[in-house]
Each structure stands twice: as C-alpha cells, then as structure tokens.
C-alpha cells in the first residue's frame, strides 16, 4: 500500500491528499472505506446532492442575486441598488426588534424545552409501574402538527373565550394576546415550549436508558446524593444527546415555530412579536418586496452559518462521545 504520494502512510501535501481523494485512496490507509470504484459512492449520494442543489443552493444563489436589486414583483423591471436592501433592513428599528425577539425567543424556548424535557425524562426513568402509559402520554403531543398546536394554543389564549384569559382575569390581569406585546410573547413561548418538550423527552429518556447499568451501580456506591450522581455521571454521559438537542431546539425555535406564529398573529402581525423568518415571509410573500426579503434571508443564512460554526467549534469539544 505504499505509494509515491505517501510517506509512511500519510500524504505529503494538500495536492497529494486531493489526488488520493480523487483516486478514492484513503488519506489514512487505516481508515479505508469499503468502496473501490471511485464512481459508486458519488452515485449513491447523487440523489441527496440533487435535492440539496435544487432546493437549497439554487434558491440560495437566487436570493443572493435578488438581494442586490429592488425588483418589480412581476419581473418587468429591476433596479440594481447594491447593498441598499441590506442597509434598509439593518437600519430599521423594526428589523432590530425582530432580531432581538428572535434571539430572546431562541434562548427562552430552548432553555425551557430542554429543561422540562430533561426533568420529565429523569422522572420517567425512575417510574417502574405504568411507565409505558406515562411515556405515551408525554410523547403524544409530538404527534401534533405545529399549526394545530398553534390553533389549540390560540383557543386557550383567545381574547374573548380563552380559559387562560379567564384565569388571568381572576387575578385581576387583563390578558390581551394579540394586542399587548408581552402577553403575546407569553403565549408564543408557552405554545412553542409545550410543542417541543416531548421531542426532547424522547431523546433524553433513550439517552438515559442507554447509560450502562454497571456505571449507574458504580455511581450508586460512590455517592449517596441523587443530585451528585446526576451531575457527575448522568449529565456528562447525556452530553452528546444534549448537544444534538440544543442544535435541534435552536433550529426549531428559529424556523419551525413559523406556523405557530402565523396562527397566533392571524397573519396580521401588527406590533406582535415575530421571528426573522416570519418577517422574510411577510415582506416577500405578502408585501411583494422581493429584494428586501431576499436581503433579509441572506442575513439569516449568515447568522445560521455563524451559529453552526460556533456551536461545533466551542460546544462540541466539550462533549464526550462514549
């Protein structure tokens, strides 16, 4: 297996490395994959790549292009405006407050959904009798589609007939979801968290159940305090699950809460909180401002890219994969 391109099994230069890769030779022979033909792996990933190109790269390129224009929605005229669309978005106080809310929403929803998910998983893990029905009940919510979750939530928070509005009235508080900014925030957070808890619960529970019994028993001998055992043994072993869930939850809050917001604000957001992605939709699809909306989506794309890099560089290092 020694080759002109390698010395002691390792490639000499980047160029050699690329050539090896092209020849489907492993850079490190120890990690050799099972494919011998250079074409076969490509053939297998082709459908996936095609999907990504058609549904992601192509629209992304289009978005970047139109973000530099102010366009007539019907496509007759377009004026090149350079970075003006970006400037308009970033200068707008409305955009700034939407961005601030999105960040706030991400932190709060992720924290609460992960916290409750973990708490329920820890408790459910201890249940022996009737464990199955507990789990089923907890997981059931996950089967509800987000728009339906939004509708159910909306019924609870309705200004006129909502039970939550009535409960608030007992305490002398006039809950006005849709009129009062923070009331709507409370409703959005509640519904978004409620919808996401079961997902986190499933993963945490299965993560906990995959911790070997021997480890748990050893921990039991070392520490009497359940809290210490949880902090020192369970939590570190759950870290890969938690890291995965963190990313999923942030993505969920940023993007998948769209239908919940749409239902709550009844497509007239007024001064109600909304996420950045909802604003992209609003300006682009309802306002027909293609340039402005494209610029916002490019900004969003950059934010997500940065966030992903940060997560993997700084957080993943601390995660121990068993």
């Amino acid at each position: 297996m020694t080759d002109a391109l390698t010395t002691n099994g390792a490639p000499k230069t980047m160029r050699d490395r690329l050539r090896l890769w092209w020849r489907a030779e492993p850079a490190h022979p120890m990690k050799r994959a099972q494919f011998n033909a250079p074409l076969a792996p490509w053939l297998f990933v082709l459908p996936q790549i095609a999907v990504v190109v058609v549904f992601f790269y192509w629209p992304a390129i289009q978005a970047v292009t139109s973000s530099f224009y102010i366009e007539d929605p019907f496509g007759f005229g377009a004026t090149f405006v350079g970075l003006e669309n970006y400037k308009t978005a970033l200068d707008s106080t409305q955009y700034a407050s939407t961005a601030a809310f999105t960040a706030f929403f991400c932190v709060v929803v992720t924290t609460l959904a992960l916290g409750f998910g973990l708490l329920l998983a820890v408790k459910a893990d201890k249940v022996i009798r009737g464990a199955h029905s507990y789990k089923t009940l907890l997981i059931a919510v996950y089967a509800i589609a987000p728009p339906v979750a939004g509708l159910i939530g909306m019924m609870f928070f309705d200004m006129h007939i909502g039970p939550f509005t009535e409960i608030a009235a007992w305490f002398g508080y006039e809950l006005k979801v849709g009129v009062n900014y923070w009331d709507t925030v409370v409703a959005l957070v509640t519904i978004a968290v409620w919808k996401q808890i079961p997902y986190n619960f499933i993963f945490f529970l299965s993560g906990m159940q995959s911790i070997p019994a021997s480890v748990r028993e050893a921990a039991l001998i070392d520490a009497r305090s359940g809290w210490r055992r949880f902090c020192d043994v369970t939590l570190p072993l759950l870290a890969p699950t938690a890291f995965f869930l963190l990313i999923i939850n942030i993505t969920y809050t940023m993007f998948d809460t769209f239908p919940i917001i749409d239902v709550i604000v009844k497509d007239k957001p007024a001064n109600n909180p909304m996420t950045l992605v909802y604003k992209v939709y609003l300006d682009g699809f309802k306002g027909n401002d293609i340039g402005g909306s494209s610029a916002q989506s490019v900004i969003l794309m950059i934010v997500v890219a940065v966030l992903t890099v940060v997560q993997f560089r700084f957080l993943e290092r601390r995660v121990h994969y068993g």
């Binding site: 007539d72 496509g75 009129v179 900014y181 009844k266 497509d267 309802k286 306002g287």
Partner: protein
C-alpha cells in the same frame, strides 16, 4: 355535501363541449363566497358553448396575488386574477402584466360604458385618465352596524356623525353595552376616514399620477384627531380595541355585547347567521366639524385582472366573461348571495325593483354609501407596497392602544416608513 357539489361541478365543468376554449380564474375567496364564485362560473359555462371557465381558489387575497405573481414569472399565469384593493397598485404598476379590462372588452367587440358603473367603483381600479385597468368585481363599503335593542335600551338613535357618537356613547355604556368596536382600523379609520371626510391621502393626486415622488399624508391634524378621539374613547370604555384581527373585533358585536360595529357591507351575509339579535346598519360616521365631509367611501374588496400573454381566443373568452359578470342578473345574484354591492346602476335598479331592499334594508346601505356625492379625494388612492404600509399602520395602532407610543409619534413613524416604502416601490417600477 360540499364535496359532492364540488365534484359534480368539476365533472360538469370538464364535461362541457370539447371544442370550448378553456380559461382559468384564480381567486382568493373561500367559504360561501367561494361557492358563489363556482356557481357564477357554472352559470357562465351553461350560458354559452364556446368558452369553459374554471375557477380556482388560491386561499386568501394575499396568497392569490402571490401565486399570480409567481405564476406570471413562470409563464403559467391564469387568464383572470383577482387582486384586492391594497394590492391593486402593484399589479396596475406592472404594465405588461395585464391587459386593461376596458381594452380587452372593447377589443373583443363587446359593449363597454364606464357610466354604467356606480360612481364609487369607477376610479379605484382605473388609471388616472379613468380607463378601467381592473374589472371591479366584489366591492364592499365600510359601514356601521348597530344592535337595535342596545339603542332602544339606551333610548338613543344610531349616530350619523362622530359628534353624535360622542353624545350617545355614554348612554349606551350606561345601558350596559360597549358602545363601539371596529375591524381593520387601516381600512376604516385611515383610508375611509380620508374618503368620508374628503381628505387628501397622498401627494401626486392620491398617488394616481405617478409612483415617483408619491408621499402619504397621515400625520395631519385631522387624521391624528381621529386617533386621539379613538384612544380617548378606548380609555373611557366607549370603544373596544381588540388588535388587528378582523374577527376579534367583530366578536363582541356578534355576542350582543357591543352596540355598534364598523365593518364591511360584505359581512352582512355572515352576520345574518352569527348574530341572533335584530340589527340595522347605516353609513359609516364622519366628522361634521370637517368642512366638506360626508362624501362617499372608497370601495373595498377586489377586482379581476386579465393577465397578459394569453392567446386571442382565450382573451375573447375572458372579455365575454367580464361582460357576463356585469350583467344585472349576475350582479344581483352575487349581491344577494354574498352581501357585496352590485357594481352597476342597472343591477342596483334590478335589485330594487325586485323588492330586495324592502326585505333587507341593511343590504342597501353599502351601495348607497358608495353612491353618495364624491369629493376631490374620495375616488381612491394608489400606493405601491400598500399591504406593507398597512402592516406598519397595524403595528403602530396596536402600540397606541397599549400605551407604547403617542398618536403623534405613531403617525410620524407611519409616514416615514410608508414614504420609504413608496420610494422603494417607485424604484421597483422603473
């Protein structure tokens, strides 16, 4: 039942003669109104053999417009697209996207006379010279509904002006009612505050003359006065504000808690079913103190646009359908089944001669308001990116009523952001 009718309809639509030219119509109506659109299309298909019209619901008004735009860019546009009032500037500015309705109809050799249409609908979808670009279709007016019992209990008459409202409102409150709610303040208290009180809404002749340099006028004394009053009324419990949603503001009236509701004449059909009390309607109030006030209102609702890029045979069918749609019989059928106003004088006369308004006096209020004398500024307005401007207004109004801002600051913001949007729109059109 519903599926059955639709299936039957779909079958009969496809079954009509194979030689017929197919044309399509995308609209943004659902529920009962959507069904009536299907019925009218069927009537058109039954009335002649050469054309076959298929109506397709695209969801809401906004969704219909977005779908139409996307389809046009892909060269897959329908023959007819329904576009709502706030979106009209967008489609009218895109010359080349549509064939002006008037050119289409006269080009196909059909008769067309602007004067046949009631005064209130003549200008809204026309260019500054008065040529019909869009074909007015479902037209509504903002009117005042009132709970008869509430006014009897308070021993007062429904107000004609806002001054009268200030007189009667405390008495309605004493009688245990919330005196007033209003849906969609943008349409009621800004756009139609302008029309009913004959106030200029935008420079460049309310935007009709050119998109370039058009600026909106909303931080004026009178508009701000209207909102100061609304805020004061809200604080005094004389007016209930329930956010930007249409239904949230209608609900207290439907439940019999509110004495008055400013809503759409097109809501009449729905109210007949949902309100289990006797109600009446009158014109939307105006300010007696404003000179020249009491003019007609702008029409709301939507118009039909003939999309460009279609073969002549299909365009001829579209023209034929437009003519069919304005026929008095079709208009009266539409009027009675939906609550939207008849758009031609002849249709109005026909409904009157049939004695419809003796049975349903409320149904006549909208059209009468549209037939009031017009003022310089009550013909309409034309502003691009207007749906977004409405969103800005909705945001600021919510902030006014939740004490996050003052009326002056709110309207300054609306004017600044609105003008920025108008400037952007002017660039998009060039």
């Amino acid at each position: 039942m519903f599926t059955k009718t639709t299936t039957a309809l779909a079958l009969s639509l496809t079954a009509s003669s194979a030689m017929a030219t197919d044309i399509s119509w995308w609209h943004g109506m659902s529920g009962r109104n959507g069904e009536v659109i299907n019925e009218i299309s069927q009537q058109f298909n039954d009335a002649q053999d050469s054309c076959n019209l298929t109506p397709i619901s695209k969801g809401t008004y906004e969704e219909a417009l977005s779908s139409g735009i996307a389809a046009f860019r892909a060269g897959e546009q329908p023959n007819i697209l329904q576009v709502f009032d706030a979106g009209s500037a967008t489609i009218i500015a895109a010359q080349g996207a549509t064939i002006p309705a008037e050119d289409l109809i006269t080009g196909a050799g059909e008769a067309f006379n602007r004067e046949d249409f009631i005064a209130g609908v003549r200008n809204f979808y026309a260019d500054s010279a008065g040529k019909f670009i869009g074909m007015p279709f479902n037209s509504s007016a903002p009117i005042m509904y009132y709970n008869t019992q509430a006014f009897e209990a308070a021993g007062v008459e429904p107000p004609k002006t806002w001054e009268e409202f200030e007189q009667v409102a405390p008495k309605l409150k004493e009688a245990g009612y919330l005196p007033m709610t209003a849906s969609q303040l943008t349409w009621m208290m800004v756009e139609n505050f302008k029309s009913r009180n004959n106030q200029q809404f935008a420079t460049n002749n309310n935007g009709y003359d050119s998109a370039e340099g058009t600026e909106m006028i909303v931080s004026d004394e009178n508009t701000e006065m209207m909102f100061h009053k609304l805020k004061d009324w809200a604080d005094a419990g004389l007016y209930g504000f329930y956010g930007a949603g249409w239904a949230d503001n209608l609900k207290p009236f439907e439940e019999g808690k509110a004495a008055m509701w400013i809503g759409s004449s097109g809501s009449f059909g729905g109210l007949q079913k949902s309100a289990n009390f006797e109600f009446g309607a009158d014109f939307m109030p105006y300010w007696d103190a404003i000179e020249g006030a009491g003019t007609q209102s702008f029409i709301g609702g939507a118009a039909l646009f003939a999309m460009a890029g279609k073969p002549d045979a299909e365009n001829a069918c579209t023209a034929q359908f437009f003519t069919f749609l304005t026929a008095p019989e079709t208009q009266v059928y539409w009027h009675k089944n939906t609550g939207y106003v008849p758009i031609t004088e002849a249709a109005y006369e026909l409904a009157k001669s049939e004695g419809y308004y003796d049975e349903q006096p409320v149904a006549e209020v909208g059209i009468q308001q549209l037939m009031l004398p017009g003022g310089e500024w009550s013909k309409g307005y034309r502003m691009g990116f207007y749906p977004q401007i409405r969103s800005v207004m909705e945001r600021e109004f919510n902030r006014i009523f939740s004490n996050e801002t003052t009326v002056e600051d709110a309207f300054d913001t609306i004017e600044t952001e609105g003008n920025a949007l108008l400037a952007r729109f002017a660039k998009s059109a060039s």
